[in-house]
C-alpha cells in the first residue's frame, strides 16, 4: 500500500532524475545511512538499554562509562522484578480491564453506530451531535465529577471503585469510535440490508450476518485502539482502582522501593505485551491511524 513511493512511480520532493545521477545517488546513500543510524539509536537504543539493563547488576548499571553488553549476565533481576512487582497480578488485572473494555465497546458502540447509521430513530442526529461534541471536552478536566459519580452511581447508588466496571463502562462513551463505525456503516449500501430484510431478517440478524462481516477492517481498528487505550491510561486507573492496579500504574507505585536492575527488568517485562501486539498487528494499527486522522 505504501510501496508506491519506492517504485519511483510517485514523484516526491526530490526528483528521480536527480537521484539517478552519480552525485545524487551518493548523496542519497549518505543521507539514508545517517537517517537509519540516527533513528535506530534514538528509538531502539533506549529499548536496547532497557532489555540489557535487567541482565546487569545494579553496580554495573550506574558504571561510567556504561557497558554495551552485560559483563556477567544474570536473570536474577527478572525473577525479583516479577515477584516484587506482583507482575502476574498486574498483568491479569490489565488483561481483564482491557478485554472487558474491548467487549463492551464492541457491543455498545457497534450497536449505537448501527442504529444511528441504518435504523435512524427520531432524535438520532441530536444524540449523534451531542456525542461528537463531547470530543471537544478535555478528558482530564472532567476527572473529578467522573470520580465522584463512580463512587456513588446516580439512582442505584452503587460504588464502582476498585471493580472492573469503573474501567469498562466509561470506555464505551467514546465518540471517536462511534464516529468511525458510523462512517463505515454509512458506506454500506442500503439495498444490501433491504434484501436481507425482505428475506425476513430482523435488524439484529441484519447487523450480525450482513453488516458485521463487511466491517472487519474497522472493527479491527476499533479493537486494537480500545485495548491500547486501556493499557496506556494512567490518571483514571490511578484514582479508581487503587487496590487492583494496572501494569502501568503498578510499575510506578513500586518504582521507588526496588533495586535499580530489578526495576529496569520490570519495565522490560511490562513492555513486552504491547510491543508484541504491535509487531503482530502492525499493518492494522498503521492503517487505523490514518483512517481516523485524515477525515477529522
Amino acid at each position: 500500500m505504501t510501496t508506491a513511493a519506492h517504485s519511483g512511480a510517485t514523484r516526491t520532493l526530490v526528483s528521480p532524475v536527480r537521484l539517478a545521477q552519480p552525485r545524487g545517488r551518493l548523496l542519497y546513500r549518505l543521507v539514508l545511512t545517517l537517517v537509519l543510524l540516527v533513528t535506530t539509536i534514538a528509538f531502539v537504543g533506549p529499548l536496547y538499554w532497557m532489555a540489557t539493563g535487567g541482565f546487569k547488576s545494579s553496580q554495573e548499571l550506574v558504571r561510567t562509562p556504561p557497558t554495551l553488553f552485560p559483563t556477567h549476565p544474570a536473570t536474577h533481576a527478572f525473577t525479583e522484578a516479577w515477584s516484587r512487582l506482583g507482575m502476574g497480578g498486574l498483568l491479569l488485572n490489565t488483561v481483564v480491564y482491557a478485554g472487558g473494555a474491548l467487549l463492551f465497546q464492541l457491543l455498545f458502540d457497534v450497536a449505537a453506530a448501527y442504529a444511528l447509521s441504518k435504523l435512524r430513530p427520531v432524535l438520532g442526529n441530536v444524540i449523534l451531535g451531542m456525542m461528537l461534541a463531547s470530543m471537544m471536552i478535555p478528558a482530564a478536566a472532567l476527572v473529578i465529577p467522573q470520580y465522584l459519580t463512580v463512587l456513588d452511581l446516580p439512582l442505584v447508588h452503587w460504588n464502582l471503585q476498585d471493580t472492573p466496571w469503573v474501567i469498562w463502562l466509561p470506555t464505551v462513551a467514546n465518540a471517536f469510535n462511534i464516529f468511525l463505525l458510523k462512517r463505515f456503516f454509512d458506506s454500506i449500501p442500503n439495498e444490501l440490508l433491504d434484501a436481507a430484510a425482505i428475506d425476513g431478517a430482523g435488524p439484529l440478524r441484519v447487523l450480525w450476518s450482513v453488516v458485521l462481516p463487511l466491517s472487519r477492517p474497522i472493527l479491527g481498528v476499533v479493537s486494537i485502539f480500545g485495548v491500547v487505550a486501556v493499557w496506556k491510561d494512567f490518571l483514571w486507573p490511578l484514582i479508581t482502582v487503587p487496590s487492583h492496579e494496572t501494569l502501568n500504574v503498578g510499575v510506578n507505585t513500586a518504582a521507588t522501593s526496588m533495586p535499580e536492575n530489578s526495576l529496569i527488568a520490570g519495565l522490560f517485562l511490562a513492555s513486552i505485551p504491547t510491543i508484541a501486539l504491535f509487531l503482530v498487528f502492525q499493518r492494522n494499527i498503521m492503517a487505523g491511524l490514518t483512517a481516523g486522522g485524515l477525515k477529522g
Binding site: P46, W49, M131, M136, P138, L148, A173, G293
Partner: protein
Amino acid sequence: MAVTLTRGGARVDAAGAGPHDRFAALRRSLARNLRAHAFLIGALLCFVLFTWYPMIREIVMSFQRVHYGEAQWVGLANYRQITADPEFWAAWRSTLEFTGIALFFGFAAPFVAAIVINECRHAQGYLRVLVYLPVMLPPVAGILLFKYFMDPGYGLFNQILHALHLPTSSWLASKSTAMPSLVLVSTWGNMGSATLVYLAALQGIPGELYEAAELDGANLLQRIWHVTVPQTRLILSLMLMLQVVATMQMFTESFVLTGGGPEGSTTTVVYLLYNYAFNYDKFNTAAALGVIMLLVLGCFSALYLWLERRGREE
C-alpha cells in the same frame, strides 16, 4: 403525524390512507423507533453517566461546598480561592511553558521526520515501525527509563555529552531545565502517531506539483514551503489543535518523573487539580479549576473551528 419514516430517512406520506391504516403505520413507526433506541441505549447510558452528567455536575459543584455531608451554595468562593492561590498562576505558567516548548519541538519533529522518511526509497517500513515503537510502550515504562538517562551523575545523556566535550545538564534536577526535559520524554514517546499521520498525508500530494515547482526553479526548501506545507495545511492545523489540547493536559510525565518539582516548576494544571482533590481533599475547588480548564481549552477548540471554517470558505 400520519407519516412513516422508511430506512434511510425518506418520508412516505400515508395521509391518504384510511384511519385504520394510519393507526397501523403509527404503531409500526413506534415499534421501529423503540427497536432503534434499544440498540442505542447501552452507549447512550454510558455517555449520560460518564460524560454529560459529570459535565453538569462539575459546573454545579464549582459553586458549592460540602459542610458535614451537606452541599451548600457558596457563589464564587471556590473560584476566588483557586485564583488567590499563587500555585494556580504558577501551574498555568508551567503548562503554557510545556505546551510552548512541546509545540516548538513536538510539532516540528514529526513533520520533519515524515518528510525525511517519505524521501527514503529504502527501509521505509522499518523506519515507520521504529518511530511508532515508543507509542506502544506502557507510558510509565518509557518515562521511567528516561529517569536513568537523565540522572545528572551516572545518566547516559550526561556521559554522552561529556564524551563529546559538551557542557552537561542537570536535566530534571534544576528548575530551568526540568520542563524542557519533560518535553523531550513526551516527544520521544508520542511523536510516532503524528509522524505516521503526516506520512499518509504526504503520500497524497500529486507529484506534478513538485515537478512544476522544480521547473519554476524552486529549490528544496522552497518546494517544502510552497508545495508540501500548503498541501498538508488542513491536517497540519488539525494536528496542531489536537496537540495543544493534549499537551495542556500533561500529567503523567511530571507525576512519575518530578512529582511536580523542583520547587513546583513542573506542576501543571491537571497536577494541581489532582492535588486539590486527592491531597488537599478540596473537591469543589478542584471542580472550579476543572471548569476554568474547560473554558480555556474550549476557547482553543472554538478558535480552531472558526479558523477551519474560514479556511474552507476562502
